[in-house]
Symmetry: C2
C-alpha cells in the first residue's frame, strides 16, 4: 500500500487564482466568481470587499478555465476571404464595435478566397467554443457545411442573400449588376465590357456580372468579360484599362467589379490623356470614398458595409439572448451616379 506517495508534481502558471482571492477575502471561490460574473447575485458589501481584494492582488481571471467550465466562450468567430479589400475591413469594424460593446471578442480568420482554408478555420474556431460564427458568403466546402450543420450555435452568413444555413444579412448582387447595367444603357453606352478579378473565387463579382449580362442580352447586346488574375487594386485597374483598349477598341464603357479597379482605370485614363466619360465611361462597385474624391467622380454602387456589420452583430446578439430574429435581411444598395459615366 503506497499510501505515502511522494508529492508528485507542480504545474500551472504562477499567477493568482480565483481561490487565492477567495481565501484572502475570506469567502468561497464561487462567491468570488459570482462577484465578478453576476454581481447582482452577491451582497453589495461582500462584492465591494471582493472587488477590492481582486484589485489588490492584481488578479486576472483565467478565461480559458472559465470557458471550459461553462462550455462557452465570449468569442465570435469571423471569417472573411481577404483583408486586402476595404469592404471586409469595414464590415469587420461594424461587427467589432458592436460585439465589443457587449464584451465579446472577435476571432478573425482570413481564407484568402480558399474554401478549404475556410473549413480549416471553422474547425479551429469550433474548438474554441465560440458563441457564434460569422462568415462572408454562402458558399462553403462540403466539409465546412457538415461541420457547421452539426453545430448548435448561431451562424451568420453575410454579404449576399440566398439559401443560408441560419441567419443571413446582405444584398442582392445580381440585382446590383442589373442596376448598373441599366444605368449605363440609360446613359447611352452600348459596347460595355465587364472587368472582374479572379471571378471564380470572388464569385459575388460573378453574380453581378450575371445580372449585368442579363440586362445587356435583353437588349440584344453582347456582354464581353475580362477576368483578371488579381482581385482588385489601382495597379490592376490601370493595366485592365490598357487591355480593354487593346482587345475591345470599340468599347464605350467599362463596368468594373469593384471601385479599386475602376478608380485605378480612371486615374490611368487621366495619365493617358483619355477623356472620361467622353472617350470611355467607367463604373465601379462598392462606393469607397476613394472613388468619390477623384475627378470625374466615379459612378458606382454603394453597399452599406459598416452598417451591414453592425446589423449582423445586433441580430446575433439578440439571438444569443434568446430572442427570435428574422432569418434574412436585405440591406440594399444605392446607385451613386457620378461623372465618370
Amino acid at each position: 500500500m503506497s499510501k505515502s506517495s511522494p508529492p508528485r508534481r507542480r504545474r500551472g502558471s504562477a499567477r493568482t487564482t480565483l481561490s487565492q482571492v477567495a481565501d484572502v477575502a475570506g469567502v468561497s471561490a464561487i462567491t468570488v466568481s459570482r462577484a465578478l460574473n453576476a454581481p447582482e447575485r452577491v451582497n453589495a458589501e461582500t462584492r465591494r470587499h471582493i472587488l477590492a481584494t481582486v484589485e489588490r492582488l492584481g488578479y486576472v481571471p483565467n478565461l480559458v478555465a472559465g470557458s471550459l467550465a461553462s462550455a462557452s466562450s465570449r468569442f465570435i468567430a469571423v471569417i472573411v476571404p481577404s483583408l486586402a479589400n476595404a469592404v471586409f475591413i469595414e464590415v469587420i469594424q461594424g461587427l467589432q464595435e458592436t460585439f465589443e460593446a457587449e464584451g465579446y471578442q472577435i476571432l478573425l480568420g482570413n481564407t484568402d478566397y480558399d474554401l478549404d482554408r475556410e473549413a480549416q478555420l471553422v474547425r479551429t474556431f469550433l474548438g474554441w467554443s465560440c458563441s457564434a460564427l460569422v462568415t462572408a458568403g454562402l458558399r462553403h466546402s462540403d466539409a465546412c457545411r457538415s461541420l457547421l450543420s452539426q453545430w448548435d450555435k448561431p451562424i451568420m452568413e453575410m454579404m449576399e442573400l440566398g439559401e443560408a444555413l441560419d441567419l443571413n444579412v446582405g444584398l442582392d448582387h445580381s440585382e446590383a449588376g442589373r442596376c448598373m447595367a441599366r444605368h449605363l444603357l440609360t446613359r447611352g453606352y452600348r459596347q460595355i465590357v465587364y472587368v472582374a478579378g479572379r471571378m471564380a473565387e470572388d464569385y459575388r463579382a460573378g453574380l453581378r456580372y450575371a445580372g449585368h449580362r442579363e440586362i445587356l442580352e435583353g437588349e440584344g447586346l453582347a456582354a464581353p468579360l475580362l477576368d483578371l488574375a488579381h482581385l482588385g487594386s489601382l495597379e490592376a485597374g490601370a493595366a485592365a484599362l490598357e487591355r480593354v483598349l487593346e482587345t475591345h477598341p470599340r468599347a464605350d464603357a467599362i463596368h468594373f467589379a469593384n471601385d479599386d479597379l475602376a478608380t485605378g482605370a480612371l486615374l490611368h485614363a487621366q495619365r493617358l490623356g483619355l477623356g472620361v466619360p467622353k472617350d470611355i465611361a467607367i463604373a465601379g462597385f462598392n462606393g469607397l470614398p476613394l472613388g468619390q474624391h477623384v475627378t470625374p467622380r466615379l459612378t458606382t454602387i454603394r453597399s452599406p458595409r459598416q452598417h451591414m456589420g453592425q446589423l449582423a452583430a445586433q441580430r446575433l446578439l439578440a439571438r444569443l439572448q434568446g430572442d427570435v430574429v428574422s432569418r434574412r435581411q436585405d440591406v440594399g444598395f444605392e446607385l451613386l451616379p457620378g461623372d465618370s459615366s
Copy 2:
C-alpha cells in the same frame, strides 16, 4: 452517511471527446492526444488507426480544454489603435500570414487610440493565456505597463523605435519627419505647414512633426501646425487644404501626417483648379498605393508595413522556439519623391 447519493448532474456539450475517440480506437486518451499533437511520438500504425477514428467520428478537439491543461494557447494577441488606417491593416496582414502558417491564431484588439481601452484589452488577452502579445506603439497607461511587466511571455512593440518592454520592430518617426522637411527645403519651399489629425492620440505623427520642426527651425523658419479633429481621410484632407489656404495664404507647401490627408488635399486642389506643386506643394507619409496613382504622383515616405508585420512575427516565432533574438530592429523607410512637390 449518505453513501447512496443520487446521480447528481450532467453537463458539457454533446460533442465527441478525446476519450470517446480513445475508447473506440482501443487506446488510451493520452495516445490519441499524442497522435494529434506530437505524431512522431506514436507508432505509425497506431497513429493511422487513430486518425482514421478521429475522422470517422468527426472529432473536433476542444482547444479550450487543451489550453487549460497545458497553460498556454496558440493565440497571439495583436493590439492596434485603429482599423480605419490601411497601415495597420497591412501590418496585421503581415503578422497573420506568418503566424497562421505556424498554426497560431491572431486575437485582434482595437483600442481606438485610447490607452485605457488598451489596458482593458491586455487584461482580457492575458486571461486567454496567449503565447505572445503584439502592440502598436511604445506608449501605454500605467495599468497596462504593470500588467505587461508581470507577464512572462514575449511582447513585441511595433511601428516605432525606442525604450521597449521586450522586443521592438519599427522605424524612426522623427527621422522620417526630418527627412521630408529636408526634401521640401531642397525643393525650395519655405512656408511649410504641417497638418496632422488628432496628434495627441496619433503621437507618431507628433514625432514626425518634431523632426520636421527641428529642421525648419534649424534654418530659421517657422513650422506652423494645423491639428485636425479627424485622423485621416480624403474628406479631412480636402477640408484641411481649404483651411490652410485661408489661415496661411502665403504657404507654399503642406506636409501632411499621412497619405490619406495628403491625397485628399491633392485631389481637392484639382477640383479647385489649383496647380500642384506650382501653387502649393503637397507631401504625405506612408507610401500607400493611392498616392502613387494620382496625378501628380504624391511625394511621400514609404514604410515597409507588411514586411514589418512579417518580421515581427518571425522574431516572435523564433523567440517562442527558445532562440535568442535581438531586441530591436529598425526597418527603415524610403523617401518617394513624387511630382507633388
